[in-house]
Amino acid sequence: MNNTQITPKGSPRRDWRLACVAVACVTGAVSLTLIAAMAVNYLRLRDADPLASPKLAGMKEALYEHPADEQLKDDIRRLDLRLRKAHLRLRTRLATGGLLLGSILIVLVVSIRAAEILGRKPPHPNHPHNDPKRDDRIAGASRWSLIALTAAIGCGAAAWAMLSEPSGDTLLPAHVNGQKPEPDYPTPEEVRKNWPRFRGPGGAGVSAYANIPVSWNVETGENILWKTPVPLGGMNSPVAWGNRVFLAGAKKRRREVYCFDAETGRLLWTRRVQPAGSKDDPENVDRDTGLSAPTCSTDGKRLYAIFPNGDLASFDFSGKEIWSRNLGVPDNIYGYATSLLTWRGRLIVQSDQGTPDDALSVLLILDAATGKTLRTIRRAVAGSWTTPAVFSIGGAERLVTVGDPWVITYDPADGRETWRARLMGPDVAPSPIYSAGLVFTVTAEAKLSAIRPGGTGDVTDSHVAWSATEDLPGICSPVSDGTLLYTLTSEGGVLTCYEAATGKRIWSKEYENLGFHSSPSLAGGRLYLFSRDGTAIVLESARRYKELARMKMGEGIHTSPAFLDGRMFVRGVKNLFCISGGKK
């Protein structure tokens, strides 16, 4: 080690080192002072911001009392200017202080490094003789220090817990009362057993019950429990809860809601819907969808109904009106046509209108009990007629909406958007379903897409598991039993079976001369189809096409059936049918 010299007193190297140490000390002291000054400055800007001067506020208040006081006005203007200047000065000082501090720290670092390099002692390899027991001693001491630290941390944590406010567990009501507060909405189990909305729980079109007849005969009455005429027509489908079946109907100047007894088919009550601001006979309502297209929804306590002119009303099961309001006629060629959805005490109204540029489309989240708007979510989509659904995806509940061109999902609790995918085309009507871990969306003008739910933002490129482009339905929603997925086209009458997870096309069947508006439904491993001219087809849900029965309903069917235990409710053009095997 001949390359390091001893630095004698008075040598230039030692002088340089001293100089560096001096610089380091000075810059260190300066930067500490600067930090202190900046701290004061910062606290003033945050806690005593000149802009938030109570004096100015007081003077403005005084001016309101004496509006003609020119002197006061003058004072206000002068004070305002002074305060704004003071604010700017504090900000500028803070900024220059930061720059200065940064620069001084660089000098400090350089001088520290220089002092360290200049002050290096020559290496001296003359340590005392290696202590053979040193490692053991260190290991022993380390063990004790580890144990001591562990004990100290344990004591610290215990002290922290003692000093904190009482444990939250004893504060939350679930633990105080031993039970959770009764919610104002049905449990998932109750929802599963009933048919609360268009296409039933989750909008899946799948019955929880297998005991639905395979065949029936309208003329002889075989397996027809009852058949009741519906006063006013409508394209909306039945919903059912407990022993009640609900429908809506309308003509040009009259909109009504009906409640039927599920046992006997008796019409229990009829209520007219006529909220303030209601507009009769809206011009933009299309003949195809009619004057009462949207399906009602119920949460087991109340029924909610909406009409193409924007009339929205809620009734209890005895027929008492709870609230009603008019949302206005949407700018949409079918009028309001999306069905309603209830979720945890909220009513969700998807009103897609106009073009994306119009910024007219909204998703309204209403308080189901009062009809008050809780949230208005704007959507950059064109008009559409799909019904949204809340799916439980990976433990989180997600509201999935389908519009043109975006499939957008939200957290239904706060309306926050979670992810979106650009998959849809114009005139979307089929509603989304969730099966086999995938969200399925389809429209005739774009494609059938299977989306892996998840992610945030635009997931078009990353989350589409598979898609198909042939025989796309334009009106009927798809249905799935968890492994197989079925789509049914309206015009050609093509029923296609896919493997839900992979998108493999398994078979397809064309029903010549039949058209469909009614979406296919699944019950007990069987598919139920109803054509526009009133032909009912029952077939097996299987990897091979097997038709089980074909019946005539005697009148056109444009709606999707509802299911309860052992019963299927089908709305024809004139009558409501209850199809049931066991006549109780």
Partner: protein, 459 residues
Amino acid sequence: MRGGLIIATVLVLTTGVFAEQRFAVPTEFDSGYTKPTTQHPDPRASMMQYVDLGVLIATLGLASFLTLKFRRRWAIFTLMIFCLVYFGFVRGGCVCPIGAIQNVAMAIFLGDYTLPLVVLAIFVIPLVFTLLLGRAFCGAVCPLGAVQDVFLLRPLRVPGWLDQALGLLAYIYLAAAVLLAATGSALIICRYDPFVSLFRLLPLGKWIEALTRGGTVPGGIASITISIHLLVLLGVLVVICMFVGRAYCRFLCPYGAILRICSRLSLKRVTITPEECIKCRLCEDACHFGAIRQPTQTHGGHDRTRGKGLLAGMVLLAGALTFAAGWGASLLTPYLARTNAQVRLAEQIWREQNALAARSDDINDPGEVFRRTDTPIARLYDDAEDIKRRFLIGSWIAGGFIGLVIGGRLVRLSVRRRREDYEADRGSCLACGRCFAKCPMEQARRKGRSVSLTTGEDE
């Protein structure tokens, strides 16, 4: 665009349908005025993050080469300064692999969070490098390590036993950070990163960005950020780092804790002497981080048996500690859960409902905002319960992990390793290159091969 739609829009809006417009929106102006469009300045170009990634990979590769092959302290120091300037001042120290721990934890445990690919890469790449080539990341690439290195003035030797105990803090920090991130509560590594405020004093990156935008620095030089508690933290740590070599890296850094484990398994490692060790102990002097281990002595049979008994005891103790720490941490669940805003809100609302606390109608109060949104209270309680359940499971795991680390340390302290030479400890070595720069054998090797390098003082 469909014709006449604007008029339709206005009609719909003005009749108060679906929108919350209170006043008619004028569409046409006689004076020919046209409405300006609101400008939204773009964030930093997405492409730039791949530049960052490229620089990270390049510097990691170079750092590994410098520590394992080139073996020059001055080169490592120069690279370190470059990384300090680039990752620190230009990139503002964010996103760094240390903070990325939390983003990765969120991506694993929170369904709603989408991890940007670059953050994942920034987290994983140094781990892979460390598994293969040692902790070159700490030695030369990490800007936080660099800050501590440049401030190092008069390193004091931390006694071995204290070093062992303090090293535990990093694992506790890691466990806490992952627990809080995985429950969506807080990102404590970022919140308490003391050095980020230093980097933000001279935000080079923001200035460069402003210049490339063709404008001046937005808001003048007031793009400076000051957060007082961080500045104070920075001041304290800088003073500590003047006298304790890389105090943050050794005793607090949660990523360092992971890297420590990885580098114990690494394929290549820093070797001090290129030839035979002459046991001059110069490397022990040169290392400011207490990472040099001395050669072992041969022990008698008596010692060995006693050692085995001790080892067995420690293994049992480690098992017990894992369980005990998990249980202990699980008792803290209700207090830990309060770091979550949702849980805090639920407790606040419950207190207000039961008249245990006064209601505030201040708009800054989360309770007041909650009341305005009309969210069902049951839903809030449900959510809070759910988060608490996550906390319960999480604190069992986090506590167990800490117990396991303590136990593992105790076991390792009771195992005798045989060493012939002075060696850098695989876990503690930060690959700074000070030891081999001081090694006389290395000096000799260089002299033999190259004439230009005659000094051992490379900084």
